[in-house]
């Protein structure tokens, strides 16, 4: 099986988000593999090992993303590709991935359901449309039998189980697999694995962030005595008007 996993490079989930003008303030921010991409990567490593296949990891980013890419290699990807560009928006990233993947005969292209920074959730669908492939999102279970992929996803009111022939694209989320933590051997091997840097093939990015806003702070919390739940019920009814 020949698998491509696309990862993004995002602030750690514990980051307190601040901005300097229209840029994220990166001071003191730790960067990680996108948490949803990390689930996709974990499942891809399992499928690759079971099928003795090949796993390529791809990131669209500048040189500062290389530690994140090396981590994906340490987790179990065989080789990596970095498309050397600032990931301007979802369309820009999708065009790079589609251009790279179109003649590589991948059986599946996996990524997270969305990036945890810009939350677009568009790249998987755009790549699939550009390559005329089916796309499943959010992909929460994934098994392969012969040339058929069987997947489960959550829909309104329950779960849907689907199947399609390979190749396909999927935007993954838990519980597709558990995150894998690289071991020392993986980290040592990752240093020697190939990381190819290629230049972007197109430049179109139809969206641009003009300004960031932080959400309004909640007003001061109103403390209620633990023995006075009648008062809480009254406030929820009369003040908050949510009951």
């Amino acid at each position: 099986m020949n698998i491509l996993v696309c990862i993004c490079h995002v602030p750690d989930t514990t980051t307190k988000i601040k901005f300097t003008g229209t840029e994220l303030d990166k001071n003191g921010v730790q960067f990680i593999i996108g948490p949803y991409d990390d689930y996709a990567l974990a499942r891809a490593v399992e499928l690759k090992e079971a099928s003795k296949g090949k796993l390529t990891v791809l990131n669209v980013g500048e040189a500062d993303t290389e530690p994140t890419i090396r981590k994906a290699l340490a987790i179990g990807a065989d080789n990596a590709v970095r498309i050397n560009a600032h990931p301007k928006d979802a369309y820009f990233v999708a065009e790079q991935i589609a251009a790279y993947a179109k003649d590589k005969n991948f059986d599946m292209i996996l990524m997270g359901r969305e990036a945890s920074d810009y939350n677009g959730g568009q790249v998987h669908g755009m790549v699939a449309e550009m390559l005329d492939m089916p796309c499943i999102v959010p992909c929460m279970t994934l098994e392969v039998e012969g040339n058929t992929a069987k997947m489960g996803r959550e829909i309104e009111g329950g779960k849907e189980y689907v199947e399609c022939e390979m190749p396909f694209v999927a935007g993954c989320q838990e519980p597709i697999a558990e995150w894998k933590i690289p071991n020392m051997r993986g980290i040592m091997m990752a240093r020697k694995k190939p990381l190819e840097v290629i230049e972007p093939t197109s430049q179109s990015a139809p969206t641009e962030v003009m300004a960031y806003q932080l959400p309004a702070e909640r007003g001061n919390v109103k403390m209620i005595d633990a023995d006075n739940m009648d008062e809480l019920v009254r406030l929820l009814k009369e003040e908050a008007k949510v009951l």
Binding site: S116, Y118, N119, G121, E208, R218, A226, D230, V233
Partner: protein, 318 residues
């Protein structure tokens, strides 16, 4: 200019979130609003009161499971038919998956998770929720065609317009691979209220000490007619199923009322719940960070407070 709105219906009735999308489209003041429906639905003429001029209704049994690629073809085809240069849709499992495909088909610029009406002073700018609820990005969209997916509860439904919509049959053209994904089974969750759609949520964390203590949480949720949720450690320890995990890497919720019991309020958890209208925090640790993000706080032992709250609701006739 005109706007196309893809709407969804359950049990023959148009979903509330789709009515929000219609209201959004009407308030854009960007010309006629056309609605596209591929689900079975009745009384579509009444959509006139949300500002809809024409409803395109697709009657095709193959679309009953909302196959994403085929829905995307129907949306792009309908937009072309009516000459719409904006498509507005409320977020759903279908819309989240279809919007990027429609964007590529229509060579349109896509903005997802939009939380407010566009500003037109300096180009077409929409506000999107980003960093999982930790920030908003005012985003300028270039190009002739635009696709917007609207966050739930982004604006209130307005049914104050008058007039009746004209309903027309529409037969979309499908691509060769539009039905490449076969649905083999659908398991509807019976009984419980579904978390992503719930208006009231009762959520509990490690403070509950073990899965055997969830009965009081379920009793409170039943009393309120609320969905149950949990924090990440709880689902990681398999005390509760993964589909109840609320937070940055789980489900994001935006209910009217979120009651957090025995959850300290890690930043990843807050990211999944901070769009809730009202937050109540019950925690025995008065220093729990969640109190800073709450509207109402109770310092006390969950095992003592939760049954008392259920009782107080009972007494108040809820």
């Amino acid at each position: 200019m005109s706007v196309l709105v893809y709407i969804e219906a359950d049990n023959n009735a148009v979903k509330k979130s789709s009515l929000e999308a219609l209201t959004y489209a009407a308030k854009m003041n960007a010309g006629d609003v056309t609605a596209l429906v591929t689900d079975k639905a009745e009384n579509l003429e009444e959509l006139g009161k949300y500002g809809v001029k024409t409803v395109l209704q697709v009657n095709d049994e193959k679309l009953s499971t909302r196959p994403v690629s085929a829905i995307a073809s129907a949306i792009a085809g309908a937009a072309q038919k009516v000459g719409a240069n904006a498509v507005v849709m409320s977020r759903s499992s279908t819309v989240d998956a279809a919007a990027p495909r429609v964007g590529v088909k229509m060579k349109a610029t896509v903005a997802s998770n939009v939380v407010a009406l566009p500003q037109n002073e300096n180009g077409f700018v929409v506000r999107r929720g980003v960093f999982t609820g930790k920030a908003f990005a005012d985003t300028k969209l270039e190009g002739e065609n635009k696709i917007l997916t609207i966050a739930k509860n982004a604006l209130a439904v307005d049914d104050s317009l008058s007039g009746s919509a004209t309903v027309e049959a529409f037969v979309p053209e499908f691509g060769a691979k539009d039905f490449a994904i076969k649905v083999t089974d659908v398991k509807k969750q019976e009984g419980d209220i579904l978390l992503p759609e719930a208006d009231l949520v009762v959520s509990a964390g490690r403070g509950m000490k073990g899965p055997e203590n969830w009965e009081m949480i379920e009793n409170l949720a039943n009393k309120l007619g609320a969905a149950t949720a949990c924090s990440k450690p709880v689902s990681d320890m398999d005390w509760r199923p993964h589909h109840e995990h609320v937070g940055q890497t789980g489900i994001k919720v935006a209910p009217s009322l979120y009651i957090a019991i025995g959850i300290s309020g890690a930043i990843q958890h807050l990211a999944g719940v901070n769009s809730s209208k009202t937050i109540v925090v019950i925690n025995k640790d008065s220093e729990a960070p969640f109190f800073k993000s709450a509207d109402y706080g109770i310092v006390g032992d969950a095992f003592d407070v939760v049954p008392k709250l259920t009782e107080a609701l009972e007494k108040a006739g809820i």
